[in-house]
Amino acid sequence: MRLINAMTIASFKMFVRQKEAILWTILLPLFMVFLFSFVSFDGMGSISLGVVNYSGDTTLVSFLKNIEALKITEDTEENQLARLRDGDRSLVLVIPATFTSSGSDSLTLYVNSERPQEAQAGRVIIQRAVDEMVFQQHHIPRPTLREESVNSRNLTYIDFILPGIIAMSIMNSGIFGVAFGFVVLKKRGILRRLLVTPINPRDFIISQVVSRLIILILQVVIMVGAGLLLFDLHFVGSLLDMLVIGILGGIVFLAIGFALSGSSKSEDQVAPLANIVTLPMLFLSGVFFSRSALPGIAHTITGFFPLTYLADGLRNIAIEGATLADAWVQVLGLVVWSIITVTLAIKAFRWE
């Protein structure tokens, strides 16, 4: 126990004294959050509507221009249809020469069939604008809707991305930290030197795991703290619950790191392996964007990725205030993964 303590403290010291390690595990994730804080996804953006007006009547066009959700450009029919085909427009509205605001001419609406939602929304908006115009022209009274706004938690992209980036950095420091760290220890003969001392290899591994889990706890606390202080994170969950999920995820990724280092002799061998494991998860586990954008089968498969469980778990707790019991699916997923990966690590890990 005394030795495990001493080894844990020693490897923690080694970590803290290594500038690159701090850079990768703490500063880089913070920097990523900082970058993403500039990205805003307000609504779904505006619908770009091309208008071709053959009539001299501008009533409808000025009506449409008042609608915030529409981005309107006027041009010739030929140009507008070309832009529509290029995908630069969602809709093109053609107002015929005979059109008057009080008449009953029909308007033509070309829609981009690749963007059904935008076309649909645009059609509704335009139809409403036309109705509105007609009502006004004829002074027809009608009931109006009065909006009352209720304060809701306005979740921002930062609220989505920050727990995701915590999950990402847990994965990276687990897999890359251990895989590279141990390959270097092996290659430089440091493990060999340990083997001629009476140290129990198991104690050495335990001390490595414990010191890395301490670093993981620091990562989570620093990221959440920075989120609250600098990025206006809407944090409603329990930090302790996040740490529990984080440590579970940490065990899964540390074990993958040990398994990879066991099957490689040098950094050159371990680097591609580690990337093969981490890259698909990085992009498909809902770290940067919601997995709901993925098509059916991909959505199902990526749902089983350990990083998905970790990112979803952290996110549910952080911004939805879920408890560990609410997040039982993620907890269970990570427990199952840790059993699989630890077994794999024990089988694959080699001292020499």
Partner: protein, 253 residues
């Protein structure tokens, strides 16, 4: 007095290559025993089998009364090892490393005393990466001494060192010998074996072809009527170099 180390009929093969071929030798307490031979003679393999790092194909090794294959953990407690190409953790000072190695043997040690022993006291707070080649080797010896071992194994301790660093290291080894430690070292430098060893085993192609004190080996050779083709010069170029650069104890700092 029984030998502290007895190697009997030790063999090791890698595929078709017989690396160590029926090697036997005893090592007595408080002597410096050298295994001398060219690269690939089997010196390191022999040492690594004694150090519990490699399984034996056949033969037996008894160290301080313990069978190395049966009680490897106990043997590890009692030996001090400097490996040929091993390194230490980054970003731990020499003091911290020695304390940590002490803990591996369940000992609380005085790191400064050990560093003093190998003349590295002033580097106590440095990292291994900042040491010169000779300093690294001396630190490696200090780390091998943390458990006050019954035998100290040094595998080619001076390979790759410049003449000054080599002489400096010889000084350290001689002092450790004078304190009564048993030392087993390998080398491919004849003058090193002659300078340091009480007894040398000459190894070639996995076999020990001679085993005696250096002076006795030389006497035997001369007894066979051997004459050097050229008369030995009274000084060599190495002596010139050492004289010009300020002798061995200009510590490389």
């Amino acid at each position: 007095m029984t030998p502290v180390l007895e190697v009997n009929n030790l063999s090791k093969r890698y595929g078709d290559l017989v690396a160590v071929n029926a090697v036997s030798f005893p090592v007595n307490r408080q002597e410096v025993f050298g295994i001398l031979g060219p690269n690939g003679a089997g010196k390191t393999t022999t040492l690594e089998m004694i150090e519990t790092l490699r399984p034996l194909d056949s033969g037996s090794i008894t160290l301080d009364g313990m069978d190395v294959t049966k009680q490897p953990q106990k043997v590890k407690q009692r030996i001090g090892v400097q490996l040929q190409s091993s390194s230490f953790f980054d970003k731990l000072s020499l003091t911290e490393l020695l304390k940590l190695f002490g803990e591996m043997y369940g000992r609380q040690i005085d790191p400064l005393a050990l560093l003093n022993e190998v003349e590295l006291k002033e580097k106590a707070k440095s990292y291994v990466a900042d040491l010169s080649g000779g300093q690294k080797q001396r630190f490696s010896i200090a780390a091998a001494l943390v458990n006050d071992p019954v035998i100290l194994f040094l595998d080619e301790p001076t390979t790759g060192l410049d003449p000054q660093a080599r002489r400096h290291l010889w000084g350290v080894i001689k002092r450790i010998r004078s304190e009564g430690k048993t030392i087993v070292l390998t080398t491919h430098y004849m003058e090193e074996a002659e300078e340091l060893c009480d007894r040398v085993a000459i190894m070639d192609s996995g076999k020990i072809i001679a085993n005696a004190p250096p002076q006795e080996l030389i006497r035997k050779l001369l007894g066979k009527g051997f004459k050097k083709e050229r008369v030995e010069r009274l000084a060599s170029l190495e002596d010139v170099f050492l004289d010009l650069t300020g002798h061995s104890l200009r510590a490389e700092q």
